[in-house]
C-alpha cells in the first residue's frame, strides 16, 4: 500500500479549484484503436505485417514498472494504466476538479524509424485522442503528437490540428533524433509560435543514442534518472542555437523533468556563456534570463526530500515564481495521497502554480472556452 492515503477530511476540490493539470497520460490500448483512422494502404500494412500485435510501449516507461503507475491507480487485469477515461476522471479530474487537464500521449507512434509510418500513426493517435478523450470530457486538452524526425510531416500534422483549439501544445520527447536546438527542427518551432502552441518537451527517449554520454546503463532506474540530464543538455542546445532569439514568441514546457536540477543548470550555463559567448553571438542574454522568458516546468516530480523547501529554493534561485506549472503526471507514481503540490506554499504562489502560470503559457486555454461550452 502507499504511505499517504487520500484523507477524507480535506476539501481537495476547494484547494485545487481552477487548477490546470499540465501532465496527464492517456494510454493508447493498442493499435486496433487506430485502424479506423488509417487509409486502405496502412490498414493493409497493419494486417500484412501484423503491426497490431506489436507492443509499442516505450522503453522509457515500461508498463508495469513502479514509476509508470501509482499502486492505488492500477487498473484491474492487464489493462494499461491510463487507458480508461473513467479511471482518470475518478482519480484526478473529479477528485481535484481542475479546470483543464492537458493530455500527453506517450504511445510509440513518434519513435518509429520510418518517417511515413511515424507520421501516419501520429496522425491517427491525434484523431483517437480527439474522439475518445477530448470529445468525452470538456475539461480535457491535448498535446499534438508529431513525427519530429521529419520536419515537413511534423509541421503538416501541427497545421492539421491548428483549427481545433483543444490542441494546446506540440509534444516532443526530450531525446529524439537530433538535439532540439538544431536548425532542421526550426520549422516546427516556427509553426508552433505562429499558432500559439508551446512546445512541450516530455521525458522519454527514442533511443537513437545511448541514454548517457558514457554509454548504455544496465538498469531502468539509471535511464530514468538520466532524463533530467537530458533536459539540461537540451536546454543548453536550444539556448546555444538561438531558438529563442529566432522565435521570440515561443514558449517551451519541460514536462516531468525533475525540476531541482534547474538551479545548478542556470549557474553553470550563465558562467559558461560569459566565458564562451563569442562562439554564439546571437545569444545576447544570459541563459537564466532566456529561461525566465521562455521556459516553464511542470512540478511532478520534484527531486528533493523536502519538496516545499525545494520549490522555495528554486523560486529564489530563478528569481521568479512564474516558471512552475501544476501537474499530477497521472498515472505515473510521483506522489502519494493527495500531495500533488507541496503544502505550505503562500496563497499567491500556490495560485500561480495551480493556474495563473499555465494560463500565461498556453494561450489556447483561453481561446478554447467557447468550444468547451459547446461540448459541455
Amino acid at each position: 500500500m502507499v504511505a499517504g492515503r487520500p484523507s477524507a477530511d480535506i476539501d481537495h476540490a476547494a484547494i485545487y479549484a481552477g487548477a490546470i493539470d499540465c501532465d496527464l497520460h492517456p494510454a493508447l490500448p493498442g493499435m486496433q484503436v487506430l485502424l479506423p483512422y488509417l487509409d486502405d494502404y496502412w490498414r493493409e500494412m497493419v494486417s500484412v505485417r501484423a503491426l497490431d500485435r506489436l507492443n509499442l510501449t516505450l522503453t522509457s516507461y515500461p508498463q508495469n514498472a513502479p514509476l509508470s503507475c501509482r499502486p492505488d491507480w492500477k487498473p484491474e487485469g492487464t489493462a494499461k494504466p491510463g487507458a480508461s477515461l473513467e479511471a482518470m476522471q475518478s482519480h484526478v479530474l473529479d477528485r481535484y476538479q481542475p479546470r483543464f487537464g492537458i493530455l500527453n500521449c506517450l504511445y510509440g507512434a513518434q519513435v518509429m524509424h520510418s518517417e511515413d509510418m511515424a507520421a501516419v500513426f501520429c496522425r491517427a493517435t491525434n484523431d483517437w485522442i480527439r474522439d475518445e478523450w477530448l470529445s468525452r470530457d470538456p475539461r480535457l486538452r491535448a498535446s499534438i503528437v508529431i513525427p519530429a524526425h521529419n520536419t515537413e510531416l511534423a509541421v503538416a500534422e501541427i497545421e492539421r490540428r491548428a483549427d481545433d483549439p483543444r490542441f494546446v501544445q506540440v509534444l516532443m520527447l526530450v531525446s529524439g533524433e537530433v538535439t532540439l536546438g538544431r536548425r532542421q527542427l526550426w520549422p516546427i518551432y516556427q509553426a508552433a509560435e505562429r499558432l500559439g502552441l508551446p512546445i512541450g518537451v516530455h521525458a522519454g527517449s527514442a533511443y537513437r543514442y545511448a541514454p548517457t554520454a558514457v554509454g548504455w546503463p544496465s538498469y531502468y532506474v539509471e535511464d530514468y534518472v538520466a532524463q533530467s540530464s537530458a533536459f539540461e543538455n537540451q536546454l543548453q542546445s536550444l539556448i546555444s542555437e538561438g531558438v529563442f532569439a529566432k522565435f521570440p514568441g515561443l514558449k517551451l514546457v519541460a514536462i516531468e523533468s525533475g525540476l531541482t536540477w534547474l538551479s545548478g543548470f542556470i549557474w553553470r550555463a550563465d558562467k559558461t556563456w560569459k566565458g564562451v559567448r563569442a562562439e554564439v553571438p546571437w545569444v545576447t542574454r544570459a541563459p537564466s534570463e532566456i529561461i525566465r522568458d521562455h521556459v516553464r516546468f511542470t512540478v511532478q516530480p520534484i527531486d528533493a526530500p523536502d519538496e516545499l523547501a525545494a520549490l522555495m529554493r528554486l523560486i529564489e534561485h530563478l528569481e521568479s515564481d512564474e516558471l512552475f506549472l501544476f501537474s499530477t503526471d497521472y498515472p505515473h507514481w510521483q506522489f502519494d495521497g493527495d500531495d500533488a503540490l507541496p503544502t505550505g506554499l503562500s496563497e499567491t504562489v500556490r495560485r500561480k502554480i495551480l493556474c495563473g502560470n499555465a494560463l500565461a503559457t498556453y494561450p489556447r486555454l483561453a481561446w478554447a472556452n467557447s468550444a468547451m461550452e459547446v461540448n459541455a
Binding site: 531525446s175 548517457t212 554509454g215 554564439v280 527531486d303
Partner: protein, 367 residues
C-alpha cells in the same frame, strides 16, 4: 561565525596554503616520451597516430575557444605549449598561489580511449614514467597520477600494481567517457586493485567513446559540449551507485574532477527519489544512493559555481558537505580558478583552510 573580506590586492604568499588537485602538465614535443616507449610504439605513433572513436585523431570536433584551452598568459617564453615549462609553472602558479602540493593530471593522447588496447596501455606506462622523470623528480611539490587505459583491465591492473608502492603517485586516473558506464562489471578489477592499494580513483573530464555527448544527439557548439561534462559526470555517479560498486568495494574512494558542483545535491536527491520507487530492480543496494555518494565521492572545485548570491554558494556547500570539496585550479587552462578569488562568498579562516588545503590533505593522506 567570523568572516573575511576578499583579500584582493594584499600580499598573499604568507597566508595561502593550497593543495591544487588539478594541474595539467604538457610536453614540448611528444618525443619527450620516446625514452619510455618501445620502438614499435614510437613507430606506431608516427605512422598511425591516435586511433579514436572520433573524426580527428589529433584535434577535437568541438574546437575550444582558446588555443590549447589555455590562459593566454601561460605560454612559456622559451616556447612550447602552456603547461610544458616547470619554471613558468613555478613562477606563475606554484609560488605565488601558495601551492604546497599539486596533483598532475596529464591529458595527452587519451590513452584510455585508444581503440588499440595494447597501444593505449603502452602510452599510459610511458606517461606515468614521464610524470615522475620530467616533473615530480624536479619539483617535490608535484605528485603524479597513475594513468590507466581502463578498457584493458588486465593492463590497467598491472600498471596500478607496478606503481602502487611508489610514493610519487597519489591516485589512479581515468577519463569518464569510457566505452561502457564506469560501474559496469568489466571495470571491477580496477576498483578491486584501487581498494586493495588504498588508491582513490580520479575521474577527470574527457575521453571519447563514440557515444554522443548527450542522450539526444551531438551538440553543435562548444558551449554545449562544455556544459555536457556535468551531465556526463552525473551518469558516471549513477552507474557507480546503481551497479553496486560501493557496496562491493566499501573502501573505494572516487574524486570527480572538473565536473562542476551545482548539480550534486539535486542529482543525489533525484537518485534517492526514483530509487525509492524502483529499488526492486537493484536489490543489491543496501542504502540510498545519496548515502553512497556522501561516503565515497569527493569533488574538485574548479570551475567554481557562481550563484547570484553568496548565501546560495554556502547553502550549496552545506548540502554537498564541506569535507567533500577539494580545491583545484585547472592550471594552465582558460577557466583557471584563483585561490584568492574563486569562492565568491564570505568564508571563515577555518572554512577557507579546509577547502584550500585540509580536505585534500586528509583525502590524499599527506603528512
Amino acid at each position: 561565525m567570523s568572516t573575511l573580506e576578499l583579500d584582493r590586492g594584499r600580499p598573499a604568499e604568507a597566508k595561502l596554503r593550497v593543495i591544487d588537485c588539478d594541474i595539467h602538465p604538457a610536453m614540448n614535443a611528444w618525443t619527450e616520451v620516446h625514452p619510455y616507449l618501445a620502438k614499435k610504439w614510437i613507430e606506431h605513433l608516427t605512422v598511425y597516430g591516435s586511433h579514436l572513436r572520433h573524426a580527428f585523431s589529433e584535434a577535437l570536433t568541438h574546437p575550444r575557444m582558446s588555443p590549447d584551452a589555455a590562459r593566454v598568459d601561460a605560454y612559456p617564453d622559451e616556447g612550447g605549449p602552456p603547461g610544458s615549462s616547470l619554471a613558468l609553472m613555478r613562477s606563475q602558479h606554484l609560488d605565488p598561489n601558495g601551492v604546497a602540493f599539486g596533483m598532475l593530471i596529464p591529458l595527452r593522447w587519451n590513452p584510455g580511449s585508444q581503440r588499440n588496447l595494447d597501444f593505449g596501455v603502452a602510452l599510459t606506462l610511458a606517461m606515468n614514467t614521464w610524470q615522475v622523470e620530467r616533473w615530480v623528480k624536479n619539483e617535490p611539490r608535484l605528485r603524479a597520477s597513475i594513468l590507466i587505459a581502463q578498457e584493458d583491465t588486465v593492463g590497467s591492473v598491472a600498471e596500478i600494481e607496478a606503481r602502487a608502492s611508489d610514493p610519487n603517485f597519489t591516485q589512479i586516473l581515468l577519463l569518464p567517457r569510457t566505452d561502457e558506464p564506469l560501474g559496469r562489471r568489466r571495470y571491477w578489477p580496477i576498483f578491486e586493485a584501487a581498494e586493495r592499494n588504498n588508491l582513490p580513483i580520479a575521474v577527470h573530464v574527457g575521453g571519447t567513446n563514440g557515444h554522443s555527448s548527450t542522450g539526444g544527439g551531438w551538440p553543435s557548439y562548444y558551449m554545449e559540449e562544455h556544459h555536457a561534462v556535468a551531465e556526463t559526470m552525473q551518469s558516471v555517479l549513477s552507474s557507480l551507485v546503481f551497479e553496486g560498486v560501493f557496496e562491493r568495494f566499501p573502501g573505494l574512494r572516487v574524486v570527480i574532477m572538473e565536473g562542476g558542483l551545482g548539480w550534486i545535491p539535486s542529482f543525489s536527491a533525484r537518485m534517492d527519489k526514483h530509487w525509492s520507487r524502483l529499488r526492486s530492480e537493484v536489490p543489491h543496494l543496501k542504502r540510498s544512493p545519496s548515502e553512497y555518494i556522501r561516503e565515497h565521492v569527493w569533488f574538485t572545485t574548479q570551475p567554481m559555481e557562481e550563484p547570484g548570491r553568496a548565501s546560495q554558494l554556502i547553502d550549496l556547500f552545506d548540502r554537498i558537505g564541506w569535507d567533500r570539496l577539494l580545491f583545484s585550479t585547472d592550471y594552465p587552462h582558460w577557466d583557471f580558478d584563483d585561490p584568492r578569488h574563486a569562492f565568491k562568498a564570505p568564508l571563515s579562516e577555518a572554512q577557507r583552510a579546509q577547502l584550500l588545503y585540509g580536505n585534500a590533505q586528509a583525502f590524499y593522506g599527506i603528512d
